[in-house]
Each structure stands twice: as structure tokens, then as C-alpha cells.
């Protein structure tokens, strides 16, 4: 399309900065979600000025724009839903500044999440938000989606660690908002932009807060015969004011599969396990271990084990972080949900999820952030079977509706994107959505930046739209 645009882009970025052949573009039509949409041209800016010029060119040719980091997102946020021009930030991947004394770093959006921690860990520091995809996902993408991760239970999600941004608006204008110091002067625009799913501006620079590594870290595994006992344990730990750094749950059904795949040392014959990380001063960690162990025992844990050393802890976490990969052994494809519920409702919700699965003819795996009530039920299905696909989507929607009915949320960390935009009316009234649209329009008045995301566009009102997951593709999370 538009050979004039491609010529001008090549003049700006060089031939190696522009992709436009179909066999190249096909690589950018997916992300970590089950969605699919192909851009017409993909470009790789190297600077903020490049981004601004690219955006102005796209405007001149009237094509939509979408930004993309590593493409690990799970709701289609980085897909070119209406085609057009995709900016991939892979070449804007420099750490621009680390202020060790004040615990700040300034990074370009293409910096990989874990690379920032690796760059500062020699000084005993790290970047706290740790999505499971942290080895490949970028901080720019994390900012767009307000990414979470297992350790956000104690330390908060991306928005709690981002202080300032440089933005390119969809008309090419460049702004800086927030900064290195906390407490912005005026409205908290940074707080608004983080999690706006790339619909307001392209982020070209990010100022983040770094954290100091705790003195002591212990990993604890608790094994339960009954799923209800595990969920009741989570409720009780929350109620007893124990705040682990992480509190993850995996059900027994999936543990065997993980064990075959990772050999993490999980039991193969239990109802569920809870995986805890306890961090802080040695004295505080000791008290937390005692507290968590007592609660687990009170709820009939058949085993409570503290990892003896870093190697054992790492193995237990390896099992958790690779759990979704292991699912590939069970079914041709899977659909990972991302609902949130009040933590006090965890036991009844898991029972309901199981029922919904059975009614629709599926086994549903549960591997999730129990401590903050962020469920990730995984529906295993065969996308080549149209009836199964239809039932998988129906089950997913039923589960999400149930989450919202309990006072929960449609998405805890994956984003709305083009996966759940038609479900937004479940949580928000027309007046709520109208104000959100006005805010988007304040930054993106023509709607040419990342169109078709977050807001319902009326294609099958109140439904998830999911295309069949292609067999053999990488699995979410």
C-alpha cells in the first residue's frame, strides 16, 4: 500500500528500518493473545524525533498508527486492528541514566524488563514489576498495559513504579510529563497514561523507580489435598495481616503436567499448592514463615516446605513461571483468562469456575496470583473444533461475568485491548465510557492511534471476540 509513504519512511529510517513485504509483515500480525491483525508497514524508530516524524508522515497519508514492544501482550493491545503503520520500539532499547543514589532509572521503551534489573543488580537494586514474560517483554509495553506479575502483591504494579514519561502524541507533538521526583505539579498525567493501552500517546522515554533488594528472601511451598483448603488459606492469610511478597496458587490437576515438563519437585497427587515468597528483614521473614506455616497447617496443609537454598527456590519458581508452557502438552490450544475478584470470595469463585468448565465440557486449569485475587483460569480446547471454540468463549465470558458480579474486574493485568472491549459495559456505564472517550480524544482527537481498542465498537455487543488460537503458537503469560 501507499508506495509513497514507504519511500518516505525509507528515506527517513533507511531500508533496514522499514518492513513492507507480506512475508515480513506476517511476523507482526500476532501478539501473545489469541487475536490476529496485520499491519501494512512496520517501522523501527531509533529516537523520539524519528517517532515524531513517522507519526506526522502517517498522518499525511491518513493511515492508523500502533506502537509495539516485544509483542508479548495478552489482549491484542499491540496489534494493528485496522491495519496501517506499526512502530516497533526494538531499536530504542537503551538505558539512558541510572541514578543509584536516588533509585531512579531513565530508559527507552524498548528496554527489556529483566535487562533493567540485570543492569542495576550489582548495586543491590532491581526493578520491581516482574511480569512472567519479563525475559522478553519491554518496559514500554509494561507501561502501556500497566503490567503486573507475581511480586506485585507487596510492591505494586507498573504504575506504582513509573514517575515520568516522554510522549509523542498522534499529531507528532512531543511532551514530557512527570519526572524524577515524586508528586507531579498539576494533574497526575503519568498516572493516567500508564495503562492507557497505547491509545493516547506513544511513549518514547520512561523514568522509573528502582528498589533495593531485601535482606532476606524465603520461598515456601504448601501442599493441600483439597483445593478449598488452599483457597481458605489465602483468605485467612490476607485476613491475618500477613503480606507475602508473592502468593501464587496452582491446582493439582496441572501440577503433574508441570512436573513432567519442569521437574520442579512438585507433588503429583494433591489438590493444590500455594507458593509463597517472603521478603524483608531477616526477623520479619522469620515471623512471616511462622505465620504462614501456622495458617497453612490450620487449613490441613499436608506439607509445608521452606526451600533450603536459592537453587531449590529457583526450581519452584521455574515451575510456576513455565506453567503455561507446560499446558501445551494437554491440548492443542488454551485460552488464559485474567479476572479479578475480592480475595474473600476466592473459595466460592474457584468452585464456580470448575462448575462452569464442567457445564461447558472442559477441564479448567488454575495457575494464578492468589494473593491479590487475580485469577488466570486456563481453558484447554482444540481450535480446529468450531464447537469447542464456541464453548470455550462462552465459558470464558461466564467466568468474567461472575467476577464482575462479585465486585471484581474484567482484567487484572492483561488489559482490555481488542479482547474484552465489548465487555466493558459490564463494569462501566455509558457515562463512564463517555468520559474515558473524551479523555482519549484529548490526546488522540482523530482516533488514529491504536484504533479499535478498549472501547466497545459494537461488534457483537457484550461478547468476547476471540479467534481460534493457532495450533503450536506460543502460549500466553
Amino acid at each position: 500500500m501507499l508506495p509513497g509513504l514507504i519511500r518516505e519512511l525509507e528515506a527517513l529510517l533507511g531500508q533496514d528500518g522499514v518492513l513492507s513485504r507480506p512475508e515480513e509483515l506476517v511476523l507482526y500480525e500476532y501478539d501473545g493473545s489469541v487475536e490476529q491483525a496485520r499491519p501494512n508497514v512496520v517501522v523501527f524508530p531509533r529516537s523520539t524525533e524519528d517517532v515524531s516524524r513517522i507519526v506526522k508522515l502517517a498522518n499525511r497519508y491518513g493511515v492508523p498508527i500502533v506502537g509495539r514492544g516485544a509483542g508479548t501482550g495478552l489482549s491484542g493491545g499491540a496489534l494493528a486492528r485496522s491495519g496501517g503503520l506499526m512502530l516497533v520500539f526494538a531499536r530504542m532499547n537503551r538505558i539512558l541514566d541510572v541514578d543509584y543514589q536516588n533509585l531512579r532509572a531513565v530508559v527507552q521503551p524498548g528496554v527489556v524488563n529483566l535487562d533493567l534489573t540485570r543492569a542495576v543488580e550489582h548495586a543491590g537494586l532491581y526493578y520491581a514489576p516482574d511480569p512472567s514474560s519479563q525475559k522478553s517483554c519491554t518496559i514500554g509495553g509494561n507501561v502501556s498495559e500497566n503490567a503486573g506479575g507475581p511480586h506485585t502483591l507487596a510492591y505494586g504494579v507498573t504504575t506504582n513504579h513509573v514517575l515520568g514519561l516522554e510522549l509523542v502524541l498522534p499529531d507528532g507533538e512531543i511532551f514530557r510529563i512527570g519526572g524524577k521526583t515524586a508528586d507531579p505539579l498539576g494533574y497526575d498525567l503519568t498516572g493516567l497514561l500508564v495503562g492507557s493501552e497505547g491509545t493516547m500517546a506513544l511513549v518514547t522515554e520512561i523514568t522509573v523507580r528502582l528498589s533495593r533488594k531485601p535482606e532476606d528472601v524465603k520461598t515456601l511451598l504448601a501442599v493441600f489435598t483439597a483445593v478449598d483448603d488452599a483457597t481458605e488459606t489465602v483468605v485467612d492469610i490476607t485476613a491475618r495481616a500477613i503480606t507475602p511478597a508473592a502468593c501464587e496458587m496452582m491446582d493439582g490437576w496441572t501440577l503433574g503436567v508441570i512436573e513432567d515438563y519442569v521437574h520442579a519437585g512438585y507433588p503429583r497427587d494433591c489438590g493444590a499448592v500455594l507458593l509463597f515468597e517472603l521478603e524483608g528483614l531477616a526477623e520479619a521473614v522469620a515471623a512471616q514463615i511462622e505465620g504462614v506455616t501456622a495458617v497453612c497447617r490450620a487449613h490441613h496443609a499436608r506439607e509445608v516446605r521452606v526451600a533450603r537454598d536459592a537453587a531449590e527456590a529457583e526450581l519452584l519458581w521455574k515451575g510456576r513461571k513455565n506453567a503455561f508452557g507446560a499446558m501445551g502438552r494437554l491440548a492443542p490450544s488454551s485460552y488464559t483468562l485474567d479476572g479479578v475478584i475480592p480475595r474473600s470470595r476466592l473459595p466460592q469463585t474457584l468452585r464456580r469456575v470448575g462448575e462452569i468448565g464442567r457445564t461447558n465440557g472442559f477441564d479448567i486449569a488454575n495457575i494464578f496470583h492468589a494473593g491479590d485475587g487475580n485469577l488466570h483460569p486456563i481453558i484447554l480446547y482444540d481450535p480446529r473444533n468450531a464447537d469447542q471454540t464456541r464453548r470455550a468463549v462462552a465459558a470464558a465470558e461466564e467466568i468474567l461475568r461472575y467476577c464482575v458480579e462479585l465486585g471484581g474486574a474484567l482484567t487484572g493485568e492483561h488489559g482490555v485491548g481488542m479482547e474484552k472491549n465489548e465487555l466493558m459495559p459490564l463494569m462501566f456505564s455509558e457515562a463512564d465510557l463517555d468520559l474515558m472517550r473524551r479523555i482519549r480524544d484529548a490526546f488522540n482527537p482523530r482516533g488514529n492511534l491504536n484504533p479499535g481498542k478498549i472501547f466497545p465498537i459494537g461488534k457483537g455487543c457484550g461478547e468476547i471476540r476471540v479467534k481460534p488460537h493457532r495450533p503450536g503458537a506460543a502460549l500466553p503469560l
Binding site: D99, Q101, N102, G148, T152, G156, T159, N160, F175, R176, I177, K180, T181, A182, D183, L185, G186, Y187, D188, L189, G191, L192, G195, R212, E215, V235, T238, A241, L281, E283, A284, A287, V340, I341, P342, R343, S344, D372, G373, G407, G408, A409, L410, T411, G412, G415, V416, M424, F428, S429, D432, L435, M436, R438, I439, R440, D441, A442, F443, I454
Partner: protein
């Protein structure tokens, strides 16, 4: 009252009932912002009524200032006009509280002190240890964006507000966020409301994450002859594995005010601190909490770090002594305002690493303009610098104005920024309390227009002429 003001009262009476509408000069003065009184005061009993008032105001192009307990109305620039005070104190219920989930949804007019009692029944609390705590409401606290010593560990409101309901400038009752601790559904519009001084919306309800009360809390105070040594202790603590819940540095002038005064913002006066508080020195105050073992570790390590930093004294404060300092730290803004008839308190947002140079500049500014000053610096970087002239007059006002400009420049040189949220009204004609214009103000104006297209909410009070 103008003719239109009289008809305004009649029409508001018709809208929400005359028992919910106040008029008269005396009543109006109780609601005055920088000396400007409203024509009428509306006291809705529901969010829907509040929305009706705003819809009426939007249709009639009347300006509305939402208010709570009116403890912080002096923050900001004087409003350009003030037709209706929207008093939200009657929206004062807990809408939803799930102690097992540590989540809370509460009406904006709920007093913080009453809410604290409800939460304490479940051994929980909100880390909003803000000034005027005995009187302030939830909504006013969020709208004013005042910070708390507890931010050192618990963060600011943006870290634990989960969602909000509010009336926008078109009079629509709108919500964002949710009630659960993790949620990325839709835009975080509620974050914009924090510190917006009622210029975007009238907040009617706020959802919070609550926190479990610690098993025990202790305080720590170390005194220093030299400023540099006090700053060195802050750095040593920051670089240690310790994570105190509060960490503040007080200048000797602040310490003297702490010793000599009880905050007028408290419902009951409190005793002065004991001989363990060295009123003529720099102070490093820390708070810490946890099990007995954790408490013992903090006491041991903080005392050692203080000795290594050259403290002239270091004391652990228990349940009897700690409240004497704690209440003053929480109420430090009113305490400083009490200390001078012309008190002007700047808030500088800095990085602690840049404090040594910034403190030196503030000291020089105070000498240059012959203005006594007192400092309170929070460990996360925000610094309150109070100029305390002995008397109010034209001369002191012009010196204050020049000193303020110098503070704004100094904060910018230190890589941060500053505003002057509390100062005499007459000073506000000399400069904009929000500092010089910034490049991001056009974006803020766009946000303002989206929330409040007719510009009826608190016109002129905010940064960027908003």
C-alpha cells in the same frame, strides 16, 4: 446578593429542597476561599443530588467549588468566581467494606477520624496520616492531594486509591477503577482527581485498599548539631536493609515549634515532647513497626547508625512518648501556619540526593530576605519550607514574594519543582503559587476541558490557569 443570585437560591431550593440550601453572609464567609464567599451553599444528601446541582450550574454557567470540612480551602490560587459551594459532608457513609479483602468504598464526606475508628475495629487503617486529621474528610484529602509521613513506606494516595465515583462538569455521575486491589480495566481517571483541588469533578466516593494495623509501632528521634550529619543518617538508613514507615528531617526551627506548641488543628491539645527532644538541633525522626523481634532490630540498628553519623542523642519512643512527636509530624503544616501571622509554606519536590545543596540554598534565601524559616523534609524527597515572618506588612509581603521566586528557581536547579500551597491571600497577587508555566500545562488544559467543558469547577485555582 445579586438578582440572579436570589433566583439561584430559589431554583436550588426547588432542585434539592430548601433544607439543603444555605444562604446569608455569615454562612457564606464560613465557605470563603481566599476571602471570596459563595452566593449559595448546597448541601446534597446523595451523589445524585450533587449531580443535579452540577447539572444546574453547568446549564447556568455558574462556578462550583466542591468542599468537605473546609480545612484546606486556602490551597491554590483564588477562584475567578464562586457561585455555589457544593458541601459534600452529608455524603458520609461507608458504602462497602470487605475486611477480608482489605478493600473499602467510602463516601467523600466521611471524616477520616470516624473512618479510622471503623477500620480499627477490624485492626486495619488507611495510611492517610494527613494534616487536619481530626476534621478532614476523605474527599477533601484526596482532592487536596496532601501527603502523609507514612508515604515513606505506604506510598501516597495514588498507590492505594483503587477507584472513585464523581460528578464531572456536565453533571454526569461517573466512575473509574474498581474495588479490587488489582485492576487495569479502563483508564485510571481517579488518579487525575488526586490533588486536582476540585477543578475536574466533585468526588462523591473513593475506593481504597486498606492495610492491616501493625502488631506494634515505635518511634525514633536522633538529634544533630550539624545539618550534614542529619542528612548523612538519612542516607545511611536509605542504604540499609531497614524500611522504616516514616523518615523525616526537621530543622532546629521546626524542632523549636514542635517543643513550644500544640497544633491548633487537634481537637485536644497535647503535651510538649520530653527532654529527649533537643529543641535547638536538627532532628531525624523515624517510625517503625512489626513483631517484637523486628522492633528490637530497628531499635538496635537505628541507634548504631545514629551514633556512626555523629548524633548528639538518639532515643526510641514508646507508646507513651511517640504520640507527642507523631501528632506533630502529622499536623506539621497547621503547626507551622500557627507559628507566624504571615506564614508561607512552599512544597518542594526533590530527590533526597540533592538535598544538601538545596538545603544550603534555602538557608541562603532565608538570610537574603531576612525571613525566619523552618524545614520538614520527608524521606521520599518532598520538602516543606515555611517562611515565618514576625509580622505581616507590605515589606514582609514583598520579601516573601521574592523569596518564593527564589525557592521556585532553586527547586528547578535541583532537578525538581516547587509550589507555594499555603500562604497569605495577598501574597497570591504577587506570583502564581504554582510556579512558572510548564511545557505540560497545555495537556492539563485538555484534560480539564474533557472533564469540565464549561469550566465551572473551581475556576482559576489550579496550575496552568485551570
Amino acid at each position: 446578593m445579586t438578582v440572579s443570585a436570589t433566583s439561584l437560591v430559589v431554583r436550588l431550593d426547588g432542585l434539592i429542597g430548601s433544607e439543603h440550601v444555605l444562604t446569608g453572609v455569615a454562612e457564606g464567609e464560613n465557605y470563603a476561599v481566599d476571602g471570596l464567599a459563595p452566593s449559595v451553599i448546597a448541601r446534597p444528601i446523595s451523589a445524585e443530588q450533587a449531580a443535579e446541582v452540577v447539572r444546574f450550574a453547568a446549564a447556568e454557567k455558574l462556578s462550583v467549588v466542591p468542599v468537605g470540612a473546609r480545612t484546606k480551602l486556602g490551597m491554590g490560587m483564588p477562584p475567578h468566581r464562586f457561585d455555589i459551594a457544593l458541601d459534600l459532608t452529608r455524603l458520609d457513609q461507608v458504602a462497602h467494606y470487605d475486611p477480608g479483602d482489605l478493600t473499602l468504598s467510602v463516601d467523600a464526606g466521611m471524616p477520616l477520624a470516624r473512618l479510622a475508628q471503623t477500620l480499627a475495629e477490624h485492626k486495619q487503617f488507611l495510611p492517610l496520616a494527613v494534616p487536619w486529621f481530626d476534621h478532614a474528610t476523605v474527599g477533601g484529602t484526596i482532592a487536596a492531594g496532601v501527603d502523609s509521613p507514612l508515604r515513606q513506606f505506604y506510598g501516597t494516595a495514588r498507590d492505594f486509591v483503587l477507584g472513585a465515583e464523581f460528578v464531572n462538569g456536565s453533571g454526569a455521575l461517573v466512575k473509574s477503577g474498581g474495588r479490587v486491589v488489582k485492576n487495569v480495566t479502563g483508564y485510571d481517571l481517579h488518579k487525575l482527581l488526586i490533588g486536582s483541588l476540585g477543578t475536574l469533578a466533585a468526588i462523591t466516593r473513593v475506593n481504597f485498599r486498606t492495610f492491616p494495623s501493625p502488631p506494634a509501632s515505635r518511634g525514633f528521634v536522633a538529634s544533630f548539631e550539624k545539618r550534614g550529619d542529619a542528612l548523612a543518617l538519612r542516607r545511611r538508613i536509605a542504604e540499609s536493609p531497614l524500611t522504616p514507615v516514616t523518615l523525616e528531617i526537621l530543622s532546629p526551627a521546626t524542632a523549636r515549634i514542635f517543643t513550644n506548641r500544640s497544633p491548633s488543628s487537634l481537637k485536644r491539645p497535647i503535651a510538649p515532647p520530653g527532654p529527649w527532644f533537643q529543641a535547638n538541633e536538627w532532628q531525624v525522626c523515624a517510625g517503625f513497626e512489626g513483631t517484637p523481634e523486628v522492633i528490637a532490630r530497628y531499635a538496635r540498628d537505628l541507634t548504631r547508625l545514629a551514633e556512626e553519623s555523629g548524633a548528639s542523642s538518639a532515643n526510641i519512643l514508646d507508646d507513651a512518648t511517640r504520640p507527642l512527636i507523631w501528632a506533630r509530624l502529622r499536623e506539621s503544616i497547621p503547626l507551622l501556619l500557627d507559628a507566624s501571622p504571615g506564614a508561607a509554606i512552599a512544597k518542594l519536590s526533590l530527590l533526597p540526593g540533592n538535598w544538601p545543596a538545596a538545603f544550603e540554598e534555602l538557608h541562603e534565601i532565608s538570610l537574603r530576605f531576612a525571613l525566619p524559616f523552618a524545614l520538614i523534609a520527608r524521606g521520599t524527597g518532598s520538602v516543606y519550607c515555611a517562611f515565618l515572618p514576625d509580622a505581616v506588612g507590605q515589606d514582609s509581603m514583598s520579601r516573601l514574594a521574592e523569596a518564593t521566586t527564589a525557592v521556585f528557581e532553586s527547586a528547578a536547579r535541583a532537578g525538581g519543582h516547587a509550589a507555594m500551597p499555603w500562604c497569605p491571600t495577598e501574597l497570591k497577587s504577587h506570583f502564581n503559587i504554582w510556579g512558572p508555566p510548564r511545557a505540560d500545562w497545555p495537556l492539563m488544559q485538555r484534560v480539564k476541558s474533557a472533564f469540565d467543558p464549561a469550566g465551572i469547577f473551581s475556576p482559576g485555582r489550579f496550575a496552568g490557569g485551570i
